[in-house]
Symmetry: C2
Subunit: 194 residues, 2 copies
DNA sequence: GTCTATAGGAAGATAGAC
DNA sequence: GTCTATCTTCCTATAGAC
């Protein structure tokens, strides 16, 4: 397991550097040279541990996907009513202007064209939708939510609002745009108290 | 005005080729050489009409932004109740798997870092949010919508759901994911008939 | 495991001829 | 307006020494 310390072995440093660069610049915008410099590793080191850029990117994407899933589960798996858990997920702290390290990759043509690189992205967002579907269903079962809603549709809307919130925030250069979209969704989801 | 015919002048062909490549590959993933080949123009031609890649990209982005705004206005400016117009906007035909040619640019580090390139993106999404805000306000005024909703928040949620819908569709490789998110939002927006 | 050397091609232009 | 030549740096490796 990765220790997180500055002097981890080269393989670890390369993966972490790649994760950071993929988040910031995407796959197309990330070169092996930039990775090596960020990791403090030479070319020989990189090509010893990985067969090339796609191989290293795959390791980085898989780890990022796993971390995102774990972070979501920490919030969604908490105790409490369905609405509260969805609200906690939507309001959880985020590095909004950096965008979503997983969702971002969907705009990368070379990630989308490569089934192996796309798979962790697809699986992570799919898992998240499934997890939220179950929670919305809970809310319907216990009478917290009402109306004609289909759980899997609401779950998709929640994930889409978050992903689109990043787009609005980055376009405007301000995290406020993300929060506004999320508050709108929470108002629509909010159990009516007539 | 651009005639759309195959043998337009080189400047037009360069702009159209750049629009297409920016949509598909983003700014970082689009090279002058690729643009010239797609446009059937040489280097001399490109650098005669434009000072460089950023200049050409700016012309392309401005045109794409203008077209997106016009397309949205055709649907949002139609006659009818607020809900129907928002529904028409959400359900309008889209090249879902290609993503949004404007929103996509927010994931490009060099677009976001350059205020001139980012401006058309920001202005277009901001215009769209404003236009939707007015329509939601209309719906509240005439009693079509009820509840604690703030128009500008709902408008942001609508735009975010669309932008995030593209992310889900591209991740899964299927336009269905977009539609699911949109249907969830429509269910939440749907005027209750108790 | 890591380093340096080497390599063919692309990126992003500039200069000058036609 | 468009073409070709030229330039520097970067991209994405492979080979072989240490």
């Amino acid at each position: 397991m990765y220790s997180g310390c500055m002097s981890a072995n080269a393989s670890e440093r390369l993966i972490e550097a790649t994760r950071s660069l993929l988040w910031e610049r995407g796959y197309v915008g990330t070169s092996p040279k930039a990775i090596q410099q960020a990791a403090g590793a030479g070319q020989g080191s990189m090509y010893h541990h990985f067969t090339g850029k796609p191989d290293l990117a795959l390791a980085a994407i898989r780890r990022t996907a796993e971390e995102m899933r774990a972070a979501a589960e920490r919030v969604l798996g908490a105790q409490g009513p369905a609405y509260a858990r969805i609200e906690a997920y939507l309001l959880r702290e985020r590095d909004v202007l950096r965008g979503c390290p997983v969702g971002r990759l969907t705009m990368d043509p070379e990630v989308i064209a490569d089934d192996e690189l796309r798979a962790p992205v697809d699986e992570t967002l799919d898992w998240l939708r499934g997890r939220l579907t179950g929670i919305v269903q809970e809310g319907l079962d216990n009478g917290e939510f009402s109306g004609p809603m289909r759980p899997e549709e609401i779950a998709s809307t929640v994930v889409a609002t978050v992903q689109g919130g990043y787009v609005l925030a980055r376009a405007s250069g301000s995290p406020a745009a993300f929060d506004t979209a999320v508050r709108g969704l929470l108002a629509l989801l909010s159990p009516r108290t007539p």
